[in-house]
């Protein structure tokens, strides 16, 4: 949404008032709900319906990165009422007192959430001291895409990415954090989000091995699709999850998608209420509203994301999903990854 200069918004308001479409007579007509979210989480249609139902005005601000989110909220959260954040990042906000507990009594639609989301205590980071700080809204897991023409049996483990038979026909994602976690999983460490330095170094070596097995490390879905088509790719680490599956299929690729037995990493975006929220009840009302079936399903039908209300097509409740957790040392991973990506040999780690 583009923020209009004041004079324009005033003009539009007058114009709407003139047409009789102005503010509704609800008690909360003058209330404003300030939503900070990722693109697709509060599209205009969803916002409009909520405004009509609640009588409040919704101002949506989009964030484009975790850093962006942090910068916008760190001002004691005064500027926003409700924000979308993934489970890994959420802990930072709780620790800084920027996120406040949610009264789950107001989130009646929680009852409709999939069984995976029924007990928040099983999802690390949502509940602290018995209080719920975030309500899951959208998620995407990073499974493995395989080329049905080249891979006879669907891969069952992420080890397939290291398999020599696929050398030069594997696409991995250009990122430090997930790749180390992936390597950790591959290595079978206890907690791939919290690895020791020794484990990280070992993981770096494994990643060099991976580097030597891949065609390249891609950055965007479009890029991955292009490589897939041009170089007869066999395996793709689907950083963009089901969105990427859709893109490849749209491009005519004959592919399958699996969740490896080690479990697919997944980010889980949740709604949280900022400590500076003006009207927590209104914020809770928004959260509850987005958990409505029709709203949540739009995430899947329009944006290709998995929602927490209806099962994602092709998914199975038994799929092992590993929600992202805060990392032990992101900068260390980044430094190592930069070296790996620069082409340093294995002996350098």
């Amino acid at each position: 949404m583009i923020k209009l200069p004041d004079k324009y918004s005033r003009f539009i308001f007058l114009f709407l008032a003139f047409l009789g479409l102005g503010a509704s007579p609800c008690a909360s007509a003058n209330e404003v709900l300030r939503v900070l979210a990722w693109d697709g989480y509060a599209d205009p249609e969803i916002v409009h319906t909520f405004e009509r139902q609640s009588g409040a005005t919704v101002e949506v601000t989009y964030v484009n990165s975790d850093d962006d989110l942090w910068n916008k909220l760190k001002n004691n959260g005064r500027d926003y009422d409700v924000f979308a954040v993934n489970t890994a990042e959420l802990q930072t906000y709780i620790n800084h007192g920027l996120s406040v507990p949610i009264d789950m009594g107001d989130i009646s639609n929680h009852a409709q959430q999939l069984s995976r989301f029924q007990n928040y205590a099983t999802i690390k980071g949502l509940v602290h001291n018995g209080k719920t700080y975030a309500v899951p809204y959208a998620y995407s897991e990073m499974g493995l895409i395989y080329n049905r023409k080249l891979v006879k049996h669907p891969p069952r483990s992420i080890a397939a990415m290291w398999a020599p038979e696929y050398r030069g026909r594997v696409l991995a994602f250009n990122t430090s954090n997930h790749n180390f976690t992936l390597a950790g999983q591959f290595m079978g460490v206890k907690n791939p989000f919290r690895m020791t330095n020794a484990e990280l170094n070992k993981a770096a070596r494994e990643l060099v091995k991976l580097r030597r097995n891949v065609l390249t490390f891609y950055k965007t879905t479009e890029e991955a699709t292009a490589w897939f088509k041009k170089y007869n790719v066999a395996l793709v680490f689907a950083n963009y999850g089901t969105q990427q599956v859709k893109a490849l299929r749209d491009a005519g690729a004959d592919i399958g998608y699996v969740i490896p037995r080690e479990g697919a990493l997944a980010w889980l975006d949740c709604w949280a209420i900022s400590s500076g929220a003006k009207d927590r009840k209104l914020a809770e009302s928004w959260i509850n509203y987005t958990l409505g079936k029709s709203v949540s399903e739009r995430l899947t039908t329009v944006h290709g994301l998995a929602n927490t209300i209806t099962p994602f097509p092709e998914s199975s409740p038994s799929d092992k999903i590993i929600w992202l957790e805060p990392l032990e040392n992101p900068s260390r991973r980044k430094a190592l990854w930069d070296k790996i990506l620069s082409g340093d040999p294995i002996e350098a780690f």
């Binding site: 484009n64 250009n174 580097r211 390249t216 930069d338 070296k339 620069s342 340093d344």
Partner: protein, 1089 residues
């Protein structure tokens, strides 16, 4: 401010001049502005093209350098050398020197490398530029060389045909090396190297720092011009917002097509260049002009291109047009000033003669001729002046007429009897005449200019008045209303308003004329009249209003309901129409007398309804008189009391007539005898009293039953009545005993045929049902005044004579022998016998229990006297009481009964039985002066007996004889606790009112009614009546003569619970009673009834 014609003309001329100048100026300004924008865009596009050229040129130079390196024989040699050979090291060093030299020459080159396919694309030779500014160039040591096989610039280039070069996308450099450009925009141009046997050996690649190129591109641009660069996907490579550049390399894409959708055809290759005018400043924050070009780059087989754009703020473009705009404004102002001056001069010339005329007209006084107008001018002004002159003459004439009319009108308004007020459009008083002053008290001076709410309309009426006013203003017709108003001295008055809108020639209401009248008095009178009319109409009494002659003027609805005459039928009729004829002329005479003297009369009148039915009314007649006492009207208020009268008649009939035969009873007989005796005295004619007793009737009763006996009695009584003459009386005074009173007999012989007819009437056979019965009569006769006794004595004498007739063989009559009075002698002997019986204790008391049939409680016992006669056996009271009736011995016997009963009560109490006892008491005894004292003495003699348990039964007939005394005695007895019961109730009384005054606790229904009530509806009616009366007077009631269960059941259903009779118990001796009380149980049927 008043604007003269000249100024107006000048203004319009000036406005016209200014407007046309301004429009022309605006057109010139707008046109030049558009031309300016157009030329700016073209300039912008040209600049973009130049830049694009510069960009392509730069890339071409690099590709030439790559080609140069790739074609070096040295490179081919390296590709052909075996790995690790000594010569290879030297060749690599030579190549590194070449790389270094080239880096030194090309300041924007970052890195030049030879990369082999072996060892995961390990670099073979690499030279890096160390710092951006410095000339420092490093050849990378063998151990620090890196693997690059997974980079697209490597694996994409490797497979190109020889001689072709690869151009990478421009992206942020992510390869850590000795160079300074990590994370800087970088482009890589590469060429494949093949071994001599045409096997891919590796690539030569030059990394170029694009930032430098970008800087160069922007270097010579004017300050107002800014640059935008994107790759083929639309990702920003150069953008004023650094955060948006290379978003795809930082994990977040920013695409130009999202900011500028118009750019899509360019990205898609449909067009090669685009000029945009972004007036809303959506993308950059200010309105701008933009020019974009597609800049192809890359090798032969690559379709790489970038989008290069330049933009400049619209403001800077339009700076020139501002100057132009200012010039136009200055020019316009100049023209306006000029036009104004010309206009003013023109106006002055035109207005001069007109001003002269205006001045003349202004000074002109109506009535005077108009002078010094420029009539001599031969133009429009001259015409105007002449027309003015003519018009003034006519106006002067009309003015005189109007003034005269106004004077007349004002006089009329002032004299008008109704208030006249004219309101202006603001509802304020314009005209106010003296009548209005009279009504409201405000003078004209006080009222003028006032709004009605300020003085005459009360606040509460505001809404209603507003409504009327609105309607009038909207052109409504005349509105009539009656309102409350306030006068100057604060009184509230009621006014009748007629409001008429006065309209101007255009039909719009300009003022409102109100005519107002004070109708307060009239309204109050109307209200009183309405109230009276309402009372009149809805009164529950019939109301008749007549004139002084009694002719009906009005009647109300109730009148119609009572009389049946409709109002229309009644009007004009005389009151006499309603007369029933029951009342004689003297009645009406008395009524009119009262009416005349007192002004009213009330009483009861029998009148006649329309259907001829008579009715009784309770009526109050009042005379309505004027101040001179002259009667104007009569008003009659009446209620229909016919039902009450009928009920009263019914009761009186019951009181005076025998229910079985409908003949007068003993009470009426006494009355008739009194009257007949008076009549006899007045007329000097004799009166015959005949006492009849039927012979053999008891046998009929015993053998055929009571019903047959009753039928026979009715038949015979009717025959005997028929045998008598009009004016004679036949009364039934007992079971089969009758008394005939025959009047107006002159000769003793006159009665003989009558007596004979009576005997015959009694003795003729009678057919009852299917049985023929025959009885006869014994008649005792006495004559008055020959037998100079009182009525009672006459009867007794006749009775005695009847006894003689019986003795004489019945079916005959016997005349009382006044001279010998033999009956008296016989009676005297009886007195003696009774006195002796008393002394010898031959009298005994039997007790008959009284019970509550429903509860089974024994509530008391009646003491009944019996004579144990030594010769005649146990005698019933009827055998001896009549003899001592009205004789002092009856008092003695009565006292004995009281004492005996009290003694019995004390005896029972000792045995544990506390039972109230009643005794029958003779009226004579009650009338003894010391009765109360003696009763008290007897009670004192039995101190254990509670007086309230003792009850005296008195025959109602005897109670009524001397009402005053009896009532007093009874009251006295009541005070010492003794209660009274009225015995034989129903057999004779005259007025219910007496009952009210007697301190009687209990009414006893006579056994004759009770006995026959099962078969005789009249008796049943009497029983019901007595029970109802008892309830009405809050007296207890007991029935005697309850002979069967059915009697009891019926009584219970009628509400009478107390009873005595054979069905319960026969009278028994005192000693037997406790045993009976202990064992008695009421009939099962009674409990459930």
């Amino acid at each position: 401010m008043r604007l003269s014609l000249g100024i107006k003309l000048g203004f319009w001329l000036a406005l016209l001049g200014a407007g046309s100048t301004a429009l022309t100026g605006y057109y010139v300004y707008d046109r030049s502005r558009n031309l300016l924008i157009q030329s700016s865009q073209e300039k912008l596009l040209t600049a973009t093209q130049v830049l694009a050229q510069r960009f392509s040129g730069s890339l071409k130079n690099i590709s030439a350098d790559v080609g140069f390196i790739a074609s070096l024989p040295l490179v081919q040699q390296i590709a052909g050398e075996p790995v690790n050979s000594a010569s290879l090291r030297s060749q690599e060093k030579q190549l590194a020197d070449i790389f270094s030299g080239l880096l030194a020459a090309r300041k924007d080159y970052l890195q030049i490398r030879l990369i082999g396919t072996a060892n995961h694309g390990r670099e073979l030779v690499r030279a890096d530029r160390l710092g951006k500014d410095g000339e420092k160039i490093a050849v990378i040591a063998r151990g620090d060389l890196q693997e690059k096989a997974y980079y697209p610039y490597f694996f994409e280039t490797l497979h190109l045909p020889a001689g072709q070069f690869y151009v990478s996308n421009i992206s942020l450099n992510q390869e850590i090396g000795a160079h300074y450009a990590f994370d800087k925009p970088t482009i890589r141009l590469a060429m494949p190297i093949r071994s001599q046997d045409n096997v891919p050996f590796g690539i030569v690649v030059i990394d170029v720092d694009m930032q430098d190129l970008f800087d160069k591109l922007s270097a010579n641009l004017p300050p107002a011009l800014k640059i935008l660069l994107t790759n083929h996907e639309g990702d920003y490579l150069i953008n004023p917002d650094p955060a948006k550049t290379f978003g795809f390399d930082r994990g977040r894409q920013f695409l130009i097509q999202n900011d500028l959708p118009e750019i899509k055809p360019l990205l898609a290759g449909k067009i090669k260049q685009a000029m945009l005018k972004q007036a809303n400043g959506k993308m950059l924050g200010f309105p701008s002009l933009m020019a974009f070009m597609r800049v192809p780059f890359g090798g032969i087989n690559q379709q790489r291109y970038a989008i290069l754009g330049l933009y400049t703020p619209l403001e800077s473009v339009l700076a020139d047009s501002k100057v132009l705009g200012l010039s136009v404004i200055q020019l316009t102002l100049l023209f306006i000033a000029l036009a104004t001056l010309i206009g003013l001069a023109l106006a002055r010339a035109l207005a001069k003669p007109l001003n002269l005329m205006a001045q003349t007209v202004r000074q002109h006084v109506l009535g005077d001729p108009l002078e010094s107008l420029p009539v001599e001018r031969n133009d429009e002004v001259g015409d105007l002046a002449r027309s003015f002159n003519a018009m003034t003459g006519r106006i002067n004439e009309q003015m005189s007429a109007i003034q005269a009319a106004e004077t007349r009108l004002q006089t009329q308004i002032d004299r008008m009897p109704v208030g006249l007020i004219v309101w202006d459009q603001d509802f304020r008083v314009m005209t106010w005449n003296p009548a209005a002053t009279t009504i409201f008290g405000y003078t004209e001076a006080e009222a003028l200019g006032k709004h009605p709410y300020e003085f005459i309309v009360p606040y509460e009426a505001k809404a209603a008045v507003d409504e009327i006013w609105d309607r009038l203003l909207k052109g409504g017709l005349t509105a009539q209303s009656v309102n409350e108003n306030i006068t100057k001295d604060g009184r509230t008055i009621i006014c009748d308003w007629t409001n008429t809108p006065l309209k101007g020639p255009d039909g719009i209401t300009t003022s409102v004329l109100s005519m107002v009248q004070d109708v307060t008095e009239r309204k109050r009178t109307e209200f009183s009249l309405r109230l009276a009319a309402s009372v009149f109409t809805h009164a529950r009494e019939g109301i008749i209003i007549t004139d002084a002659s009694g002719s009906i003027l009005d009647v109300n609805d109730t009148f119609t309901q009572i009389t049946g005459y409709s109002r229309e039928e009644a009007l004009g009729q005389n009151l006499r129409t309603l007369n029933s004829g029951r009342h004689g002329p003297e009645f009406y005479a008395a009524m009119w007398r009262d009416l005349t003297s007192k002004g009213f009369w009330d009483g009861e009148i029998w009148n006649q309804r329309k259907n001829g039915e008579e009715f009784a009314e309770m009526i109050t007649l009042s005379a309505v008189r004027d101040a001179d006492k002259k009667t104007l009207n009569y008003v009659a208020l009446f209620t229909d009391i016919t039902p009450m009268k009928k009920h009263q008649q019914q009761l009186e009939h019951i009181a005076h007539y025998d229910a079985l035969t409908n003949l007068p009873n003993r009470v009426l007989l006494a009355d008739r005898m009194q009257q007949s005796m008076l009549h006899s005295q007045r007329s000097n004619k004799s009166l015959v009293v005949a006492y009849l007793d039927l012979d053999g009737f008891k046998a009929v009763n015993d053998t055929r039953g009571h019903n047959i006996g009753d039928e026979l009695l009715i038949t015979i009584s009717q025959r005997m009545k028929a045998a008598l003459r009009e004016g004679d009386t036949l009364a039934r005074i007992g079971g089969d005993e009758f008394v005939a009173v025959m009047v107006d007999l002159e000769q003793p012989q006159d009665y003989e045929p009558l007596l004979a007819r009576l005997l015959k009437a009694a003795s003729d056979p009678a057919i009852v049902g299917d049985t023929v019965l025959q009885v006869s009569a014994s008649i005792g006769v006495t004559l008055y005044p020959q037998d100079g006794a009182d009525a009672d004595l006459l009867l007794r004498h006749a009775d005695q004579a009847m006894y003689q007739a019986k003795l004489a063989g019945k079916n005959c009559y016997h005349l009382f022998d006044v001279a010998h009075d033999t009956a008296v002698v016989t009676q005297h002997e009886s007195f003696e016998r009774i006195r002796r019986g008393l002394e010898q204790r031959e009298f005994v008391l039997f007790y008959q229990p009284k019970v509550n049939m429903r509860t089974g409680a024994v509530v008391g016992a009646e003491a009944l006297i019996r004579w144990r006669h030594p010769e005649r056996g146990l005698l019933q009271p009827a055998a001896f009481l009549p003899i001592i009736e009205n004789h002092l011995i009856s008092v003695t016997l009565g006292e004995w009964v009281i004492a005996e009963a009290l003694a019995q009560m004390a005896e029972w109490q000792e045995a544990g039985l506390y039972l109230p006892v009643s005794v029958n008491i003779d009226a004579l005894q009650l009338q003894q002066e010391n009765f109360v004292e003696r009763l008290s003495a007897l009670l004192v003699a039995q101190p254990d007996v509670n007086p309230s348990q003792f009850e005296l039964e008195i025959l109602e007939t005897s109670a009524l004889e001397d009402m005053t005394q009896v009532s007093g005695v009874m009251q006295a007895c009541h005070e010492i606790g003794v209660r009274f019961a009225l015995d034989d109730f129903g057999t004779g009384y005259s007025s219910l009112t007496y009952l009210k005054h007697l301190p009687v606790k209990l009414l006893k229904i006579d056994k004759s009614f009770v006995r026959d009530m099962l078969s005789d509806v009249d008796d049943l009616a009497i029983v019901e009546g007595v029970i109802g009366l008892a309830a009405a007077f809050h007296r207890e009631v007991i029935a005697e003569g309850v002979e069967t269960t059915a009697h009891g059941t019926l009584l219970l259903s009628l509400g009478c619970e107390l009873a005595q009779g054979y069905a319960i118990a026969r009278p028994m001796e005192g000693a037997d009673l406790p045993g009976w009380v202990a064992n008695w149980r009421p009939d099962a049927a009674w409990k459930t009834s």
